[in-house]
Structure formats: structure tokens, C-alpha cells
């Protein structure tokens, strides 16, 4: 049989470069030239950012369409690594844009221009804006990125492992479980790391075990019983948290309540660094297991006959994910529904291959959380609200839609 290349045979159709890419590049260059003709480097940047809303919406839709064209429905390049890299780079770009927005915008009035000047060093250092940007906003944005990445990835892994599209650390009660652990840690006067973190991990492992025992029928983890168990675990943990709060009288109460709000504002570079060191290895480990997750989608028995060591893989996935989730919970409290929204959106756009979805969830989840946090900081007229409010406002309706769809 003559060796046709895959493209010739039509297993993989190659996609032409969409026409809007050169068009948009041209438009941007033109804009840049105009801006340069007018003013200073700062204004160039400002000008590039100030693309009007219709244009950016158009761009966003085109980007999504471009991604969708690369999804396995219409397939694609033969090299999976190339595909992973392309998608990662695109999402990384989105993440950087979101981070930049997050740094430049905030509740400080009229600070946008100042922020740009401060960011690009065209202003004397040591100003108030400098402090706000580097001491407050920057660590906060990094924290949001890490938290969003870890929680989306957590959702992705649970959905694959439990073969349930509604699984998510928060909905399953794992977040609240590690929350209980963390509160115990705070009450015992531990420091945030490693004391509270370790307690949070212990709490999440206990709830996970409880959940698996409660929801396991004979051999199979059923969809409804899993969700119901999660609801019960959540209710129980909620009551326990209330109990702990009501018997606490001193200054630790303040700590707990602040933390409970699912809030990203209390952080500094030290904490962010610790969190990064603990969860970035988890990302790598999970990517390494991503093909096993693909095989797991066909059921445990099939995966076994295709060479997956189910016991080892399941154990690693459960432990690593709980570890990752409890690390984020111990830093910023339970933030809900992130693990539901991002995996579903990304799966819709890129298809179900986990080798693509794991890096996409890390980058896309980070982007999503940074944007949610930005909304939380800028929406209220005065002060700010916890980012958990925004993620719940977006995520809970989606949960209901998904629930209705899987019910059919």
C-alpha cells in the first residue's frame, strides 16, 4: 500500500491560515504608526489598548472561531505537541492581556494613566501608584492566576475521574472540607504555611474519602449520588464552620471571616511564591497523566486493557488534585464554580483531549480568575467584593444549565 501522508488521505485536513490574521495585523500596525506619529511611547501603548469595544468583540469572536476551527471536529495537524503548543501560546497571550488589564485597572480613582506611567517607569519611583501596583495589585493578580489555574484543573480532573460533567471541587464539598481543616488550623494558631495548609489538605482528604464511601454503590460511582453526597458534605461543613465561628470570640474571628469570603486581597509576594512552588509541580504531574485521563473516559475496564494502571493513576490524580485545591483554599478560602466554567468552555472549543485541556485549563483558568477578580475590584462603587461572588454569579447558572442537559 503506498504511504499516503495523513493529510493527503484526509484523516487530517490542513487548515489554511484564516484571512483575518493578516488583516488584523495590518490594522494594528496602522494604528501603531498613527499613534507614533502623534506622541510618546506611553501613548502608543495606550492607543493600542484603547481599541473600541466593537473591535475587540469582533476580535474575540474571531479568535474563538479560529480555536474552534482547530478543534478535533475539523482536525488538524498530525502533531499533537504542535497543537498543544499553539493553543498554549494563544491562551498565554490572553492571560498576559488579562494580567495587564488587572494591573492597570483598580478601585483607585483616575489611576489608569498614572498606572501606565508607573508600569513603564516613566515616573519617579516610590510614588503611591508604584506601591499600589507592585505591592497590592501584582501579587493579587499572580494569586488569582494560580488559584484560577488550580481550580479549573481540579474541576477537569474530577470530571474525568468520576466521569461526571458536574464534578467540581466546590460542588463536591472538597473545598469546604479543606476549609474546615484550615479553620481548625487558624484556631490552633498555626501560621498560614505550612500549618494551615497542611490542615486544609487533611480536611480535603477526609471529605474526599467520605464522599467516595458515601457515593459508591457496589462498584460504580453514580452521578446523582455523587452530587447529593456533595450537597450533604457542603451543608455539614457549612454548619460546622458556623459552629466554629460562634464559639470563637477573639481576634482570630476576624481572620476566619475574611478568609471565608473567598477573597484574594490578603496576599503578598511571599505567599504567592509559596503557593506557586507547591502547585506548579502539580500542573506538570497532571499534564504527564493527561493521556491516561483520556483513556479513563472510556471507563476503568477499557482503560485497564489499554495499559493504564488504574489504581496508581486514580490515586495520584485524587491526591494531587486535593493537594492542589487545598493549597489554594488555604490561601484564599473556597472560591466556587471555577472548575465548572472553564473546563466546559475549553472542552467546547478545543474538544475533549486532555493533553490539550490540561495546559488550556491552567492558562484559561488563570485568565478567567484574573478577569473575575478585576470585576470584583471595579464593579462596586466603593470598596470591593470577594472574587468568589463573581465566580458564583457566573458559575451557578451554568451549573443548572448543565444539570438540565445531563438529565436528558
Amino acid at each position: 500500500m503506498p504511504a499516503l501522508s495523513p493529510a493527503e488521505h484526509g484523516i487530517y485536513d490542513r487548515h489554511p491560515v484564516p484571512a483575518w490574521i493578516p488583516a488584523f495585523a495590518g490594522m494594528t500596525t496602522l494604528r501603531y504608526l498613527v499613534a507614533r506619529a502623534i506622541k510618546s511611547p506611553v501613548s502608543i501603548f495606550y492607543c493600542l489598548l484603547q481599541a473600541d469595544i466593537t473591535e475587540s468583540l469582533f476580535l474575540f469572536l474571531r479568535i474563538l472561531r479560529f480555536f474552534a476551527a482547530m478543534s478535533p471536529v475539523n482536525t488538524k495537524k498530525p502533531d499533537i505537541l504542535k497543537r498543544v503548543l499553539t493553543i498554549s501560546l494563544l491562551l498565554l497571550f490572553l492571560l498576559l492581556v488579562a494580567m495587564l488589564l488587572g494591573i492597570l485597572m483598580g478601585s483607585t480613582p483616575g489611576g489608569f494613566k498614572e498606572a501606565i506611567q508607573s508600569l513603564f517607569g516613566t515616573r519617579e519611583t516610590g510614588s503611591m501608584m508604584d506601591t499600589i501596583i507592585w505591592r497590592i495589585r501584582f501579587p493579587r493578580i499572580l494569586l488569582a492566576t494560580l488559584v484560577g489555574a488550580a481550580l479549573s484543573l481540579g474541576g477537569l480532573v474530577f470530571q474525568a475521574l468520576l466521569r461526571n460533567p458536574l464534578a467540581e471541587p466546590y460542588i463536591l464539598g472538597i473545598s469546604s472540607g479543606s476549609g474546615i481543616g484550615a479553620i481548625f488550623g487558624i484556631l490552633m494558631g498555626f501560621s498560614r504555611f505550612p500549618g494551615v495548609g497542611a490542615m486544609a489538605f487533611a480536611g480535603s482528604m477526609v471529605t474526599l474519602l467520605l464522599l467516595l464511601v458515601m457515593s459508591s454503590g457496589q462498584t460504580m460511582i453514580k452521578k446523582d449520588s455523587l452530587l447529593l453526597s456533595g450537597v450533604m458534605v457542603n451543608a455539614f461543613c457549612g454548619a460546622l464552620i458556623m459552629f466554629l465561628i460562634s464559639i470563637t470570640q477573639d481576634s482570630r474571628l476576624h481572620n476566619i471571616i475574611f478568609w471565608l469570603l473567598g477573597d484574594l486581597s490578603m496576599t503578598d509576594m511571599g505567599h504567592v511564591g509559596i503557593l506557586a512552588v507547591t502547585i506548579v509541580p502539580c500542573f506538570i504531574l497532571l499534564f504527564w497523566l493527561s493521556n491516561s485521563m483520556n483513556l479513563l473516559l472510556m471507563g476503568k475496564e477499557m482503560a485497564q486493557t489499554m495499559g493504564v494502571n488504574i489504581k496508581v493513576v486514580t490515586a495520584i490524580l485524587l491526591i494531587v488534585t486535593s493537594f492542589m485545591v487545598s493549597a489554594t483554599v488555604s490561601h484564599c478560602g473556597p472560591v466556587g464554580f471555577v472548575g465548572l466554567v472553564m473546563p466546559h468552555l475549553l472542552r467546547l472549543v478545543f474538544g475533549p483531549d486532555h493533553r490539550v485541556l490540561v495546559p488550556a485549563c491552567v492558562l484559561g483558568g488563570g485568565t478567567y480568575m484574573v478577569l473575575c477578580d478585576l470585576l470584583a475590584r471595579t464593579l462596586p462603587e466603593q470598596g470591593e467584593m470577594p472574587a468568589g461572588v463573581i465566580t458564583a454569579l457566573i458559575g451557578a447558572p451554568l451549573f443548572i444549565i448543565l444539570l438540565k442537559r445531563t438529565g436528558r
Binding site: N294, E301, M306
Partner: protein, 273 residues
């Protein structure tokens, strides 16, 4: 070495319930081996034990001359592929992606497929006639199409032994024959040993080189189709009146059901045991 699957006094139980009792059988390389037997007789369980899904407690089991415990999941997956009775498909993989997953045991942990693997997947899809569905999503296929996709996936795994659990159960007449012919071709062209569970004794008579009739986890009869498919053996195993004669095609047995003549008391007797 021509024995690819060899068992001695193999038993298996779920909890306290003994489902396979002291099975001793050997399957030769290049055989089309078909397992028949009433519901609940342990056919699926036997397949699961051979494919390593269930670990058997007692007895000896050797695959390709090596004892089962010497295999890792991956090395076993290179020797045996399995098409189960039902595969859940909740996630929208395309046919190509799914067939390509069959390459996993030959690849690293990340399963990064090369040009060669894509070739193999393409050939497997052509073999089962699903190349036209390459871009379709697996959850949008009919039962018969899906069955052929999963067979393509199993072929893509390039095993020496292929296990199939009732692959013809949800297929129309033409597709039943097509799948059986496919297996025959796999056996002849690639020397793959086929082990299949089937409820269709007539297909078994036509295609099987050797048959195994199981009942309550024990061997009722094993051997050539004309040795196994006799009137007395079948009636005893199924508890049901049957006619066995020669098919109009000649050289095969033909089994015909007789309506309204099930021996109910026979069924009850075995249930009580």
C-alpha cells in the same frame, strides 16, 4: 509454542459467589475460538479474567507462555485487546481520536502519536469500513457504527489476541456477517487469535474453529463445532427444546428454536442449586 492462552483449574469469585469453577482450557494460535452459554454462565467474567481486568484468585493462567502476574498493564495491553459488551461514550471524541487511542500501549505515557501510528489507525479504520466516519463524533454514531469503531480501536492496538464480548449483539443481519467476516480476515491475514463470546450458535457453528460451551462457570463441552453443537448437549445446557440438523449450506450444524417448548422445570432446578 502454539498455545496462546492456557489455563489450569482457573477459578474466579465475586465476593463469596464462585462464578468460574476450575476451568482448564487452552487456545491455540490463530484459532477462532467462540464461547457460548446461557446468561450468567460466566462468559464475560472469563473474558475479564483473561484480559486482566479481574484478577483471578485460584488456578494458573498463562498468556503467550508467560504467567499472568509477570505482565504489567502495558505489556499485557500489547498482547491482548478487548472489545467489551458495552462501552460508555459520554465525551465527544472523534472516531479518529478514539481509534488512535488504541496506540497508547505502544507509546509513552503522554501517548504522543507519530506518523506511523496514524498510518496504523487509518488502516484499522479502513479495515472495519469506518474511514468515512473519521471526523464524526463517537457519541453521534449508531450502535453498529460504534461497534465497528471499537473493533478498529482494538485492531489499532496490534494485539496477538483479540477478545470480543458479544460484538454482534446489536447489529443487523448484514453487519453481523460483516463483523464475523472481518474477524475471519484478521485471523487469516494477520494470524491474530480471536476469542469471542456470542449468543448466536449458528454464527458460532459457521465461523468458530473451536467452541466452548459454559454453564454455571463450568465447561459443558469444548471442541469442534460439530462436537459441541449436538442436540443433547445444547438441550442440557440451555434447558430448551431445539432442533439440530445440517445447514442448507452443508458442512455446518444448524440450530433451530422450537417455540413454546422451554423446559421451565429445568431452569428452576438449576436456579435452586
Amino acid at each position: 509454542m502454539n498455545t496462546v492462552i492456557d489455563t489450569k483449574k482457573l477459578s474466579h469469585s465475586y465476593g463469596d459467589v464462585l462464578v468460574l469453577k476450575d476451568l482448564s482450557l487452552s487456545i491455540q494460535k490463530g484459532d477462532f475460538f467462540i464461547i457460548i452459554g446461557p446468561n450468567g454462565s460466566g462468559k464475560t467474567t472469563l473474558m475479564k479474567v483473561i484480559s486482566g481486568i479481574e484478577k483471578s484468585g485460584k488456578g494458573r493462567l498463562e498468556i503467550l507462555g508467560r504467567p499472568m502476574r509477570k505482565y504489567t498493564r502495558k505489556t499485557l495491553a500489547r498482547a491482548i485487546s478487548f472489545v467489551p459488551q458495552m462501552v460508555p461514550v459520554d465525551f465527544p471524541f472523534t472516531v479518529t481520536e478514539l481509534v488512535l487511542m488504541g496506540r497508547s500501549p505502544h507509546l509513552g505515557t503522554l501517548g504522543l502519536e507519530q506518523e506511523k501510528d496514524i498510518q496504523i489507525a487509518r488502516q484499522a479504520m479502513a479495515f472495519t469500513g469506518v474511514e468515512g466516519l473519521a471526523h464524526r463524533k463517537i457519541d453521534q454514531l449508531s450502535g453498529g457504527e460504534r461497534q465497528r469503531v471499537f473493533i478498529a480501536r482494538a485492531i489499532c492496538q496490534e494485539p496477538q489476541i483479540m477478545l470480543l464480548d458479544e460484538p454482534t449483539a446489536s447489529l443487523d443481519l448484514a453487519h453481523q456477517v460483516r463483523v464475523m467476516d472481518l474477524m475471519e480476515r484478521l485471523k487469516q491475514e494477520r494470524g491474530i487469535t480471536i476469542v469471542m463470546v456470542s449468543h448466536d450458535v449458528n454464527l458460532a457453528a459457521m465461523y468458530g474453529d473451536r467452541l466452548l460451551l459454559l454453564k454455571e462457570g463450568q465447561i459443558v463441552s469444548m471442541g469442534l463445532p460439530e462436537e459441541v453443537l449436538t442436540h443433547n448437549t445444547l438441550e442440557e445446557a440451555y434447558g430448551c427444546n431445539l432442533l439440530v440438523d445440517e445447514s442448507p449450506l452443508g458442512k455446518f450444524q444448524r440450530v433451530t428454536l422450537v417455540p413454546g417448548k422451554c423446559i421451565d422445570s429445568g431452569m428452576k432446578k438449576t436456579d435452586l442449586k
